[in-house]
């Protein structure tokens, strides 16, 4: 038999001015199950809480209804108070008579009547509540970091530095990501590789970090604290343990003219290769789609030359399963493709800029390689078509970015800065060269950022035109192929035509191609462009709505290196907070199945946004099949209740919002 205490709060004048609390208390007294009904000026205050505790203890109450403010304000407070007095915290309900009654209804009669009904709803629900126990989940204190760019490296090193094991998965043969290919970085112009390569070496050597390059996450199962991850380690055809990285193999490979994707196809590599000299691990892979041996079984020069005997043409992909407690996603970005072909069908390319048609129209990452000392031209800006050093370069900003007609409406944030950097680096190398920039707005918020852009204009003489470019064509002018760039300067209001030797397009940052597929495996949301969604844009910027999965770097949205690194450390900190405990406590308001009723129709399995429900077999003691049933994984269930709504037999129910409880609430409103 329920013994319910109802405590109505005045909230000073906030409730009492518009609601006759005395009348409310009186009216409630006679409700079934109500044992006592009292009111007080401030229920949330120390004396208010003491009043509740005392009443529980002296009257032996089994449940409490507090009629006061929104449960979002004080439900936790009153649950804690009840627990102190020995009542299960889930036997506490609140009636919201402030935000949803006294503050919005001026008529005292109406408000009082409504308050009584609101409390009646809560009392009826409480009469059907049952005590719940918080769920305790053990934590595997090992983290998976997906993506070995600067963000992933930072996150991995931070977590490892705290003494926890980390698996760092990178799909390319080397860690380093996009940053490893950059020339110099804004606003300090320090060499990108000089900063990054020591960190790359560190992840490789750290005893707590298991580095898995040339690998991709295949499958993720489990839940916060207890993920089971399957990683595909792609066949490398080189035994990394035997290999010494001496370079005999790639120096001897006869197949030398394969476009190197690390150089965005501006330079070449061999069939057995390391993507760049500072690659970590400094172990090659064989590109089986291009290797002569895989075509006709011949050649095999690398195998013959390898003193360590590390070449293994029979190597196969391996699937490796790892148990981890937390996942950090750091899959980074790629550039929006300005050619006709788009990986995202909602985007369209820039036919008017002739990318792919004109060799000397390149994108910003290609330009980074052209001016990088480790790039295909050794840092000399030679144009791809004929190797001439360009005397005039046009840089175009906002290509893709802020261009709704092409399908991208966002600002990519970093292009203003790197374009200014590009003009500087170019002018430092070609002193008499001309650098023209077409821009719409200059967005250079950040420490020493605007000063940097001004320096490009004032000291290095970059000529900025405020306007977009409409069309680029290629013409031979006085025997030299020129790109005729037709732009405008909206500040003069006139069209501007520049005959350039090269055009660099500052393309929008887009999420990497596989990011959304990975997000689906992890039950992480993403936006229409494929950027992964954080849990809250202000207060939970590195968490996701999938518990135990964190984000950092450009997979979440365009950002520069400092921001990516800061976010990576933040994600690491969140992982470490998790790992500081041995067990996780989770709210028990989750779904459960009455397995005797369940017909295993799978409606709930399909409806569940968290893949928390699976179909399991029930067997008798002898191991004979009895029936199938759905079963909820308490670690994965987030308690949305969608399964309850779709269950035809009502054999699944949501604790805290059970069918019985909700129907009781509605029935209390019977007139």
């Amino acid at each position: 038999m329920a013994k319910i205490g109802v405590f109505t709060c005045w909230c000073g004048e906030n409730i009492a001015r518009h609601i006759d609390v005395e009348r409310v208390s009186k009216a409630i007294e006679s409700l079934p199950g109500v044992h006592c009904s009292m009111n007080y000026k401030y229920m949330c205050s120390e004396p208010g809480q003491s009043l509740i505790i005392d009443q529980i203890k002296s009257l032996g109450l089994t449940g409490v209804v507090v009629a006061s403010c929104s449960p979002h304000m004080h439900l936790k407070t009153f649950r804690a108070a009840a627990q102190l007095a020995g009542v299960n915290p889930y036997m506490v309900e609140m009636a919201n008579i402030r935000e949803q009654c006294s503050w919005v209804h001026a008529d005292k009669e109406e408000a009082t009547a409504k308050a009584i009904e609101l409390i009646r709803i809560s009392v009826e629900k409480l009469r059907h509540n049952r005590p719940l126990q918080p769920i305790s989940v053990p934590i595997t204190k090992k983290a998976l970091v997906i993506g070995g760019g600067v963000a992933g490296i930072q996150a991995a090193l931070d977590i490892a530095a705290a003494g926890h094991e980390v698996i760092l998965v990178e799909k390319e043969p080397s860690v380093g990501g996009k940053m490893a290919g950059l020339s110099e970085t804004f606003p300090t112009l320090d060499c990108s590789q000089c900063i990054l390569t020591p960190r790359m070496v560190e992840v490789n050597q750290h005893p707590k970090i298991r580095l898995m390059t040339y690998s991709e996450v295949e499958k993720v199962e489990g839940y916060i604290g207890n993920f089971s991850v399957t990683i595909r380690q792609k066949a490398r055809y080189v035994d990394v343990n035997k290999c010494t990285g001496c370079g005999t193999c790639w120096n001897g490979c006869p197949n030398k003219r394969i476009p190197n994707s690390f150089d965005f196809n501006l330079g070449n590599r061999t069939a057995i290769y390391i993507p760049f000299p500072q690659a970590v691990p400094a172990r090659p892979v064989i590109d089986s789609s291009r290797c002569i041996h895989f075509k006709n079984g011949k050649c095999g020069i690398c195998e013959k030359n390898c003193a360590a005997g590390a070449i293994n043409f029979n190597d196969e992909d391996k699937l490796i399963t790892e148990e981890v407690g937390a996942v950090v996603v750091a899959t980074g970005y790629q550039l929006y493709s300005i050619g006709k072909e788009q990986s995202n069908p909602n985007l369209s390319g820039y036919g008017e800029y002739g990318y792919g048609k004109y060799k000397d129209v390149i994108d910003s990452l290609q330009f980074e390689r052209l001016i990088s000392a480790s790039g295909p031209t050794g840092g000399e800006p030679k144009r791809p078509s004929d190797g001439r050093v360009p005397q005039k370069i046009v840089f175009i900003q906002c290509v893709g970015s802020r261009d709704n007609a092409k399908g991208v409406s966002y600002c990519s944030k970093i292009c203003c800065m790197y374009t200014a950097k590009h003009t500087m680096l170019y002018k430092h190398k070609v002193h008499d060269g001309e650098a023209h920039v077409f821009y719409m707005d200059i967005r250079s918020g950040g420490k020493k950022y605007d000063e940097f852009v001004r320096r490009a204009i004032e000291q290095d003489g970059a000529l900025y035109h405020r306007g977009r470019v409409s069309k680029i064509t290629e013409e031979e002018i006085d025997g030299v192929r020129k790109l005729v760039v037709r732009g405008a300067d909206t500040l003069t209001g006139k069209p501007v035509t520049v005959e350039a030797d090269m055009v660099v397009l500052a393309c929008a940052m887009a999420p990497t191609d596989g990011a959304t597929a990975l997000a689906q495996k992890l039950s992480v949301g993403y936006d229409e462009y494929g950027f992964l969604s954080e849990s809250h844009p202000k207060l939970r910027p590195v968490e996701t709505n999938s518990a135990g999965v964190f984000l950092c770097g450009a997979c979440q949205g365009p950002k520069d290196i400092p921001e990516s690194v800061a976010q990576a450390s933040a994600a690491a900190a969140k992982v470490l907070v998790m790992f500081s405990q041995d067990h996780l406590t989770r709210e028990p308001e989750i779904a459960h199945v009455d397995e005797s009723l369940c017909a295993a129709c799978c409606a709930c399995v399909q409806a569940c946004p968290y893949e928390a429900i699976s179909i399991e077999e029930i067997v008798d003691r002898k191991g004979n099949h009895v029936k199938n049933t759905s079963r909820v994984n308490p670690g994965l269930c987030m308690g949305c209740g969608t399964c309850v709504a779709v269950c035809p037999s009502k054999s699944i129910d949501l604790e805290g919002f059970t069918e019985e409880e909700v129907y009781a609430e509605i029935e209390s409103l019977l007139s």
């Binding site: 977009r468 409409s470 209001g493 069209p495």
Partner: protein, 194 residues
Amino acid sequence: MSETQSQLVADVEKLAHTQVNDCYQCGKCTAGCPRGDVMDIGPTRLIRLVQTGEVLEAARAESVWQCVSCLTCSTRCPKSVNISGVIDALRQISVEKRISAKRFNKTVLFQKEFLRNIRRNGRTNELELVVAWKLLGLASDLNPLAALRDAQLGPKMFFRHKLHFMPGSPVKDKAVVRRIFDRCMAERKSETEE
């Protein structure tokens, strides 16, 4: 912005089926415009004038009539603003309010004559048009030689059977064409049919 100005902006947007505030003044329309280099007020600034309520100033611009209606601007606009539609709307307003740029009186008169010609015949009668054009030229141009410039093309075209005295096959139901014109013109207080 005054109420009159807001109404004019709304009128332009309605005629052009576009939202001028979508424009963020990137200049791509001016950049690609084949006449951008000779216009007094380029397309980007025309849109800006409309955004700020200065529709009449925009409608007075010479550029409104320098536009060759090639649609390059609207096609490449990153915000899908129908710029050529706005220019058409400005043309219509400039004609209705009799404020079109003086230098382009002839062009305006020609467009009107073209429509009158269709209204009369259902199809264009090119000879009538060319003659009207020449007459307009003599009447409005201070330099009669300039007006005669194209006269030499007349005999050439005629010789090549290109210029017809009558339309190939005249429209039978000319009355319906007139009624269509009257219905379309009726709701706007237009001075096109003076």
